[in-house]
């Protein structure tokens, strides 16, 4: 699920900590919604919604229908601005690689969204259907249910889901840190090459031996 480059939403951004839009962005989004609301009912019907998502994302028709189903909270065949805002936040979190942070910060609304039948629990089948919204792979989903289904009923209640979001944000932050350290190391190595003029292999061997000594 990707936003088309150059579309209007592509220029909006989420706050990295709270994963929300700023007031200015909300106002812009309000205007955008107003332009799309041709019937002046403060809502978008399924046709408009379909073409909107079709135009700005690479989602398939089946996925767009599923998203409409999950956002149509009142089953009226229309979605209001609040649902529209939620969808935009999900799209932008995907765009800005903030899926884990988004799920952590807004675990309750996300859980309610995935709880299609209102049973206060999320099944593996439903989660699998909508995993594309949060960029969760199949294998990750299996591990999720394996590790966090504490009650063993093959469903996730809210507490288990919240635990999962906490662990996933920690994991993503660690991955980010590791990437940064790797990058800094590689730049260091390049600098040393230029200064010392040693061969790459000998330098790497030296660094490895030093790290072993430290460990």
């Amino acid at each position: 699920m990707k936003l088309k480059q150059g579309s209007f939403l592509w220029y909006l951004y989420l706050d990295k900590i709270y994963c929300l839009l700023s007031l200015r962005n909300v106002k812009a989004l309000t205007e955008y919604f107003y332009l799309l609301d041709v019937h002046r009912k403060n809502t978008l019907n399924d046709v408009l919604f379909f073409h909107f998502l079709r135009h700005i994302t690479d989602l398939r028709s089946r996925q767009i229908k599923m998203v409409f189903d999950v956002l149509d909270w009142n089953a009226t065949g229309e979605i209001g601005f609040e649902q529209f805002y939620m969808l935009v936040c999900i799209l932008l979190s995907h765009q800005n690689h903030l899926e884990e942070q988004f799920m952590y910060r807004h675990s309750r609304p996300v859980f309610d969204l995935l709880d299609l039948h209102g049973e206060l629990k999320v099944g593996a089948a439903n989660f699998c259907m909508y995993r594309f919204l949060f960029n969760i792979q199949k294998q990750e989903l299996k591990e999720l249910f394996h590790n966090f289904d504490i009650t063993g009923d093959r469903y996730l209640n809210y507490k288990e889901f919240k635990l999962y979001t906490i662990f996933s944000t920690d994991k993503s932050q660690k991955k980010g840190k590791e990437k940064k350290t790797l990058k800094s190391k590689s730049t260091l190595v390049k600098k040393v090459f230029h200064r010392v003029g040693m061969s790459q292999r000998s330098l790497l061997e030296k660094m490895r031996s030093r790290s072993r000594e430290h460990n």
Partner: protein, 275 residues
């Protein structure tokens, strides 16, 4: 001026789930508040109303559609550590002024509990004019496009004055108390008055500095136009077994009739004339 941490609320979540054919939905808190949000309405109502805040109240039309109660889903502006050197006062004098909306939506920390529906409804109330879409859109355009065109001399003077005052070491509150703004009331827009009286937050000025670029408005409008054109030209994308909430038919008079059906229950008929 001390900066308190801005309250940030969570996203709106679905209050109730599908109709009765499904198992009972989630437990609702008394008063119908969403269990996903920590009772925003009650906390907002418990705040004692000051005379300044009372003036900000605007009659909000009742929403015809039942929507889950939602707390404000807006993050505080991403204020930089630098002091705001200038304030975007290049605003047209058209009504309603966009600065109205900024102040109405309120950057003060005590008013961050405004529900998103109120923000949206206020916007619609100001901009939407029945049977006259062009007027609404021209007012929209005026807010974003005419910034460089309709700056009056008084606005320029005021802008420079305010720039000097903001750059000084005097706090914003002291500036408000000074009577320098009293001369602006006669000629300037309502937003200047509201700014002078309602102690603007520093983060507000920081955000004002980084407004949306004007070409983005053009992009927004063009994109909306493309989407609506595609929607108009296309047939119904969904087969009959998919909700079939919206049907469109054209009558000999050129009107497109659109109606919504909710699983066998007839909905409203809404005639829309497409160009």
């Amino acid at each position: 001026m001390e900066e308190r941490p801005l309250k940030v609320r969570t996203l709106p979540g679905p209050l109730t789930r599908r109709p009765s054919r499904f198992t009972p939905g989630p437990i609702q808190a008394p008063g119908g508040t969403s269990h996903s949000a920590p009772a925003p309405c009650s906390s907002h109502q418990s705040v004692p109303q000051s005379p300044h805040r009372a003036r900000l109240k605007v009659a909000i039309p009742a929403c015809p559609f039942p929507r889950p109660l939602a707390s404000l889903v807006v993050c505080g502006p991403q204020a930089s550590s630098k002091s705001p050197p200038r304030r975007g006062s290049e605003r047209p004098n058209l009504q309603p002024d966009i600065r109205n909306r900024w102040t109405m939506a309120s950057m003060s920390q005590t008013q961050m509990d405004v529900p998103l529906s109120e923000v949206c409804d206020k916007y619609y109330e100001e901009v939407m004019v029945p049977d006259d879409r062009t007027r609404g859109r021209s007012s929209l355009k005026g807010h974003w496009k005419d910034d460089g065109e309709s700056i009056s001399l008084s606005d320029k003077v005021n802008f420079k004055r305010e720039e000097l005052e903001l750059s000084s070491s005097v706090s914003l509150q002291n500036q408000v108390e000074v009577d320098d703004y009293s001369d602006l009331e006669s000629s300037s827009s309502i937003s200047v008055i509201s700014i002078s009286k309602y102690t603007p937050h520093r983060a507000y000025w920081a955000e004002q500095q980084n407004r949306l670029p004007l070409p983005l408005v053009e992009l927004m409008e063009n994109e909306a136009l493309e989407i609506l054109t595609k929607a108009l030209k296309s047939e119904l994308p969904f087969p009959d077994n998919f909700h079939t909430h919206t049907h469109t038919r054209k009558d000999p008079g050129g009107f497109y009739w659109t109606w919504a059906c909710g699983n066998g229950v007839s909905g409203c008929v809404c005639p829309v004339r497409f160009p």
